[in-house]
């Protein structure tokens, strides 16, 4: 009977999830001004600094062990916040890119395809990087590999800007904060 209860609960949760996803997809507003406004610019330089292993090594050498662990945890939490925003921005850009995929202009649709591809890659990397950051938070001495996210984000910037230029030369997409 316990197994029956477990299966019923699992099935109910799965059904709610499936219906929820379907409903949210059908209610999704088409990409437009609202979507572009949801993009949160990121300070790439600050992020680069946070995920720089040389910075970690420097802090490890200069600070007492307990102080280093405290500082590193703060840096990891800050990195996680950046990665989460990068992932969210990538999701928005995927939707924006997908609406442009059907453009009549082949150059625009090619730029959109590249943007979607890069954004997907970034979203994937963001998920893995978050996982690594949480592991690093649990085991502070483990290595951290958020660099692929940074590189992905920088590449994504280029794709978004190219698409922005092609769609509307006077109004580009901004996904990173001004330095």
């Amino acid at each position: 009977m316990t197994l029956a209860i477990i299966l019923v609960i699992a099935a109910a949760l799965a059904l709610i999830f499936i219906l929820g996803v379907t409903l949210s997809r059908s209610l999704q507003v088409s990409a437009g001004t609202a979507l572009a406004a949801q993009i949160q610019p990121i300070d790439v330089e600050a992020f680069r600094n946070l995920v720089d292993p040389a910075e970690d090594d420097y802090l490890r050498r200069r600070l007492p062990a307990s102080e280093f662990r405290r500082v590193r945890q703060k840096r990891l939490r800050a990195s996680a916040a950046y990665v989460r925003i990068a992932g969210r921005n990538a999701a928005i850009l995927i939707r924006m890119g997908q609406t442009a995929l059907t453009a009549n202009d082949p150059e625009t649709s090619e730029a959109a395809r590249r943007l979607v591809d890069n954004a997907l890659l970034l979203r994937r990397n963001a998920a893995f990087a978050l996982l690594r950051i949480y592991v690093a938070l649990a085991w502070p001495n483990s290595g951290l590999a958020a660099a692929p996210v940074l590189h992905g984000y920088e590449r994504l910037n280029g794709s978004a800007m190219l698409l922005g230029r092609l769609q509307n030369p006077t109004a580009p997409v901004r996904i990173s904060a001004a330095l």
């Binding site: 379907t22 999701a91 590189h151 580009p172 330095l179």
Partner: protein
């Protein structure tokens, strides 16, 4: 009314399968058989199999043993085809996106293995609802197949949802129908295979299964027949004119490795 072999019972057994055959004809006539060959095969073979089981149920010449044998064959074919359909939809969703396609395939292979293991464990721990192995085995097979099916469908929704992948309308409809059917059937077969139910309670769950399947066939028909509303959308005006600033800054920032394809 809610009795086995009542008019409603017969309707709920025959109608969805007849509609599924109509759906197969519509798929064929609309030239979608090349895009959804597995779903077409599922529609034809599953409906035919279920109608054969129905015929075996009402034909006095068919012995109970033979009825269950026919049910077993129909169940095996239907379960196999459902997994092929899920694979077909998975390919249709992922193929346009090579950057996550490989990852998705790795995940689905791993998850498939884990689900098979989980379903086998669940079957091993199930108490069985009949002393006749042919009957309890069929029920456990239903439970096993629906655990795997529901798990795969949920994973596909999760994966596509996380990456915001767009699906064509019929793919979404097919998977939604399979998902609703798998979740409801998993719950009912989970109860049937593990709890000692009275015949009346079992009949009520049969009604629920058949009504849900009818609903799923209607969902498939809806997604096939009703076209998607196309909202007229103007090109998105993109915010702020800071492209040049960013181009300049990024060129200074970008690591040489990031420029490599």
């Amino acid at each position: 009314m809610l009795q086995a072999h009542s008019l409603l019972w017969n309707y709920l057994w025959v109608a969805p399968n007849a509609l599924l055959l109509v759906l197969a004809v519509l798929l064929w006539r609309r030239g979608l058989s090349r895009k959804f060959p597995a779903f077409l095969a599922f529609a034809v073979l599953s409906a035919t199999g279920q109608l054969a089981v129905f015929a075996a149920d009402i034909a006095p010449s068919v012995t109970p043993e033979n009825f269950w044998r026919i049910d077993w064959v129909s169940l095996l074919v239907e379960s196999f085809l459902k997994f092929v359909v899920i694979g077909e939809i998975f390919s249709r969703v992922l193929n346009p996106y090579p950057s996550v396609g490989r990852l998705g395939k790795i995940f689905v292979s791993g998850l498939g293995g884990a689900l098979v293991l989980l379903a086998v464990l669940a079957a091993a721990y199930s108490r069985g609802d009949s002393t006749v192995h042919l009957i309890s085995g069929a029920h456990l097979l239903e439970q096993t197949a629906f655990i795997i099916e529901a798990g795969l469908v949920v994973f596909l929704f999760l994966f596509a949802g996380y990456f915001r992948l767009t699906w064509d309308r019929l793919s979404l409809g097919v998977l939604l129908g399979l998902g609703i059917s798998a979740c409801e059937h998993l719950a009912t077969w989970g109860i049937m295979a593990n709890a000692a139910l009275s015949i009346h309670q079992r009949t009520l769950l049969d009604f629920l299964n058949m009504a849900t399947y009818h609903l799923c066939v209607l969902v498939w028909l809806y997604y096939l027949l009703v076209p998607k509303k196309v909202a007229a959308s103007a090109p998105a005006p993109l915010p702020e004119n800071n492209l040049d600033v960013w181009n300049r800054e990024l060129e200074r920032l970008v690591h040489p490795r990031a420029l490599q394809p």
